[in-house]
Symmetry: none
Subunit: 352 residues, 2 copies
């Protein structure tokens, strides 16, 4: 049920039965305020999505709002899958990375790493991130982090994150315009392209890598690039996400070139959903193939074909694809003996 | 669903819900080249069986050949059961012991312990093993091995291993001629007896225990006897196998007598399949009763009566009985909540 996008199956098979820390990188970018750019949440309250996602995965409740985040079309957040797996085969622990949230999740007892990072600006006018500082915070975290389980599953919740990831890749010179995913089925290409063009026009006089990232990227992408480089293969990590996590790797790749460094990528893999892996409007494999270091990429052969719930069927229709570590969480479930029917049934209980 | 052969149920019940390291002892003996002696694999490629078994249990693929090992009559390897359990209730980790393989399993990320042991010769002309060296490697491994789970399940894949085990027991003076199992239903007693007689005739002038073992035994038997003595009860171990694993214990017993030593056997048990425990052509219980130390022996009340797959029904017909740690793996599955139907269904998915 776990399939290879790139590399071979051995890395993920070697994690079968092992315990994992589920880490959720949460951030807000004002890019969400561009009308029509994202559907990852409730209109006018999209900035709450990462906060609500984190609350729901941790405790099964949303506290900063009445309901779980869903799109205007009624697509429920992928957090349902991460929570569902956690109920069936619990992660050893869940830890949150606050990488610039407008609203802090209301949670006791759960570890919330705070890095004093502010929400970033909208990339069409410049994200205004001190990228080198955010990156160095990631590096320091990677160097010092002590993991109490066998590996880390690193997911994210960043509304508008595919737009910032796409822009970042282009700004770094990757020929990746058509390769990035979106939470939309019918991607609003005009709005997205306009935004990307505006963002890229803001950096046309810049040559410093961190200046560029600070203008067009988001905190999640920059911090996690630092985190991975800081770890340098010391711990096993599954990047649980789609094209955004590929974007993290592209930044890592660029920084290694920029700084002339090397990294041990043997303990690093990306794992996403089938909806991303088979998406016709993006190409995760092509993104991973752009890296100069070897990488294992996987997807979980899970969909909602066993469900009759209309909100879940929207995933199979392409209306939502990934997020909140869903791909990595599903992978963890399968690696610990879960099957499609069991996961589907559990997710359905959240909607009835 | 777990039944006692000898001892009482407490040891195995105390392992319910605990995590296990699945260790697979792999070795080749040229004894397989005696025409008709074994059916544990593909004719002319039987030497690949342990390699393919290890690959299949670890990653669900065979890499050194196109298909999983099956006998000429179409009996699929017991590795199917070990892999099936691992998918449903994963072992904490799988580790391979290379005790003289002709072809190394093509696996990344999985621990392969290499002891620089060569495949052994055919026992009809002398196995030509430096038995004391192999034994001491086992002792050293047992003394130094660090286990990251609650107990070890030690399985094996050694084609012709029941013949070498049988010969070893006789060579050590145990009155065990009729007690050893075979992967055949209709055991080719003539070939087997001829081989055993030839092997025994080669040692009639020998009195040194290790000289005898070096001529009639195999690396798996000798190494694991050392491993168990080296552990000396420090870790909990399930010997996952039938009469071959009983053979390991008989060697341990002889060495203790020969060297005048003692061993703590309270953390040691043997666990096998129903097909071995109820086999009319062998007697695992009689073998265990020959030991001078107390031992717990179990079998799992699992068969393929719920399957209609003809290849699996061959097990119930007695055409294959045990191997690749199947008995111990089934036991682990049962100790972690699996039932017969669930295991059967999972094994069937490999054959469809």
């Amino acid at each position: 049920m776990i399939k290879t996008i790139i590399g071979n199956i051995d890395f993920i098979e070697s994690l079968r039965g092992k315990s994992a820390t589920f880490m959720l990188a949460l951030s807000n970018t004002a890019t969400i305020n561009i009308k029509g750019i994202t559907q990852a949440g409730i209109p006018n309250l999209i900035h709450l999505t990462p906060t609500l996602d984190a609350e729901f995965v941790c405790v099964g409740e949303v506290r900063c709002l009445e309901n779980i985040a869903e799109t205007p079309k009624g697509v429920p957040t992928p957090a349902l899958m991460s929570r569902g797996v956690h109920l069936l085969r619990p992660f050893k622990s869940i830890e949150l990375l606050n990488l610039g949230l407008e609203v802090t999740p209301k949670l006791n007892y759960f570890t919330q790493h705070n890095f004093n990072i502010k929400p970033s600006g909208s990339i069409d006018v410049g994200a205004n991130i001190d990228a080198e500082a955010v990156f160095q915070k990631g590096v320091a975290f990677g160097q010092s982090y002590e993991c109490k389980s066998d590996y880390i599953i690193l997911g994210e919740s960043v509304p508008s994150g595919t737009t910032t990831a796409n822009t970042t890749a282009l700004a770094l010179g990757y020929d990746a315009k058509e390769f990035f995913s979106s939470s939309f089925k019918n991607v609003p290409n005009n709005i997205r392209e306009e935004t990307i063009e505006k963002a890229l026009s803001n950096i046309k006089d810049k040559s410093d890598l961190f200046d560029i990232l600070g203008s067009v990227s988001d905190n999640m992408l920059i911090f996690n690039a630092g985190f991975i480089l800081g770890l340098n293969g010391r711990l096993k990590v599954i990047l649980a996400g789609g094209t955004q996590m590929a974007g993290v790797l592209l930044i890592v790749n660029s920084i290694l070139k920029y700084m002339g460094g090397e990294m041990d990528s043997s303990n690093l893999a990306l794992c996403t959903t089938k909806w991303v892996a088979e998406d016709k409007n993006s190409d995760i494999k092509a993104l991973l193939e752009m890296l100069d270091f070897p990488i294992n990429g996987y997807f979980v052969d899970f969909d909602f074909s066993l469900s009759s719930h209309p909100a879940l069927k929207l995933y199979d229709d392409g209306e939502a694809k990934e997020g909140v570590g869903a791909g990595g969480a599903l992978c963890y479930g399968v690696l610990n003996g879960l099957d499609k029917k069991t996961i589907t049934n559990k997710v359905e209980t959240f909607l009835s």
